[in-house]
């Protein structure tokens, strides 16, 4: 008995049960792998007080419906991210604007620690010790310990209610194949949320994918949305 995953033709339907105050992981790094149609659907839905976990959240690219556009739309209460500000220091991102107004909580996380915390959440670890951030502001408030004579910081896992992903193709079991740099945070976030929703260019029958190139097994996927655009 194989378990087929529901395929939605509308992103709006796929995000219909995302609730106020939910914690949401949004995949993507720059443009590749960003679930733009799901993000747009969430903005249309207008559900607020979200906690958003994403690589970048500055929201200054109006042509890119990424996690930052949820912040720009005022739907976010807290962001956990590596890029709360755009790389050009002269430009102020939406998180900074809202942070100064006291309307947004920002947790800035070194990028490797961000994906490793998500991975830890996805694979059931309670925490892990790394050197990243030793001697910087990123160690503040965290437990420290020596391993092999070197200082390490205890980092804790991240989990979410929903993860929004983008892949190239899914089969009806939810197995995913990515296209090049699209992979980035997608396979890791897929493991770490209670409900994982993926938008794809194409849906094929089970057996229609090369098993060796499946980077996210279908057991992590709950809903598939056929994207309307590339």
């Amino acid at each position: 008995m194989i378990s087929l995953k529901p395929v939605y033709s509308s992103a709006d339907q796929a995000v219909a049960d995302i609730f106020e105050g939910a914690t949401i992981m949004v995949a993507g790094f720059a443009r590749p792998g960003v679930p733009q149609e799901l993000v747009k659907a969430l903005i249309r839905k207008g559900v607020g007080k979200l906690t958003v976990i994403a690589n970048a959240a500055h929201g200054t690219r109006e042509d890119l419906a990424d996690a930052g556009r949820l912040v720009a739309a005022g739907l976010v209460r807290k962001v956990i991210t590596s890029f709360p500000a755009p790389t050009r220091a002269s430009v102020e991102g939406y998180p900074e604007k809202l942070y100064r107004q006291g309307k947004l909580e920002v947790e800035t996380v070194p990028q490797g620690t961000l994906s490793e915390r998500i991975r830890a959440g996805g694979i059931g670890l309670g925490g892990f010790w790394v050197r990243t951030g030793v001697g910087t502001v990123f160690e503040e408030g965290k437990e420290k310990r020596l391993f092999n004579g070197q200082e390490h910081i205890l980092e804790r896992p991240l989990r979410a209610d929903f993860a929004l992903l983008r892949a190239r193709v899914a089969d009806a079991l939810g197995n995913l194949v990515y296209d090049k740099a699209q992979r980035n945070f997608n396979p890791t976030m897929a493991m770490a949320a209670a409900v994982t929703i993926v938008e794809v260019d194409e849906v094929v029958e089970p057996g229609g994918l090369d098993s060796e190139s499946i980077a996210t097994p279908g057991i992590f996927i709950d809903r598939i949305v056929k994207a309307q655009s590339g």
């Binding site: 059931g124 670890l125 309670g126 925490g127 892990f128 050197r131 804790r156 090049k180 190139s213």
Partner: protein
């Protein structure tokens, strides 16, 4: 500049393995994922006091339905040959109590050490070694023998055991194909421990069926990027390698 990590033979590729080295090698039930020609070369080399990190402690006395009752070559031949001082593994014993492995016989005589690790923790400790994670907290083994002597801490309302990273001097990897830059692709269930082990050793040696030119492997399917791999050896025997040897006395 042409880069090639391909070495002429398994014997040369293991020539710098030293007495007392820590070696990772796969060994997930049967020969599919094992670097058998590297193991044979290690036996020929005769290095001693090895610490082997593997799923099993060698299955030299267990038949997996091999032709004529022959046994697949695995690291059990190193144990049987008295080259191994310590094994870090999940399956140190034979599935059949009446036919103990060489490791079990030597263990009873106090001639080998064992560090028993739950299978998922073993894979994660190896990955941690390769990924710059010194240690991690896992619920696996809390309240069991596995937790003895380790820090146990309640996190998110659940007991977790602190497990530390594993690293090695060498890893003997078995993959399907390599390109000459050391990129590796696997086939079927043979990826298992090979993938994390290829990240966690100072010198990673891959035994493969075939070497191709860069660009011939699908970049979406390369599970071990070449930057992890130092040496590639092409198998001389295309199929599985079997041996009739068994027992600590042999």
């Amino acid at each position: 500049m042409t880069v090639s990590k391909v070495w002429p033979s398994a014997r040369e590729a293991v020539a710098d393995v030293f007495d007392g080295a820590v070696i990772m090698m796969d060994g997930f039930g049967g020969p599919g994922g094992m670097a058998q020609e590297l193991i044979l070369a290690l036996r020929e080399r005769g290095v001693r006091d090895l610490t082997i990190i593997s799923n099993t402690a060698g299955l030299d006395s267990v038949s997996f339905g091999t032709p004529g009752g022959s046994l697949p070559v695995n690291h059990g031949i190193l144990v049987a040959n008295g080259q191994v001082r310590k094994v870090i593994a999940s399956f140190p014993v034979s599935a059949s109590p009446s036919r103990p492995t060489s490791f079990e016989l030597l263990y009873r005589e106090g001639k080998v050490e064992l560090e028993l690790v739950p299978q998922g923790t073993l894979a994660e400790r190896i990955r941690a070694g390769g990924a710059g994670v010194a240690a991690f907290y896992t619920p696996t083994g809390a309240g069991t023998l596995v937790a003895e002597g380790k820090e146990v801490r309640v996190l998110d309302g659940r007991e977790h055991v602190l497990e530390t990273a594993l690293k090695a001097d060498f890893a003997c990897i078995r993959a399907w194909k390599a390109d000459r830059l050391g990129n590796l692709v696997y086939r079927g269930s043979s990826r298992n421990f090979n993938v994390p082990m290829a990240t966690a050793a100072r010198v990673v040696i891959a035994e493969v069926d075939e070497v191709v030119e860069p660009g011939e492997l699908d970049p979406e399917v390369i599970l071990t990027p070449g930057l992890y791999v130092k040496r590639v050896v092409v198998r001389r025997h295309p199929g599985k390698i079997y041996t009739r040897e068994q027992g600590a006395a042999s």
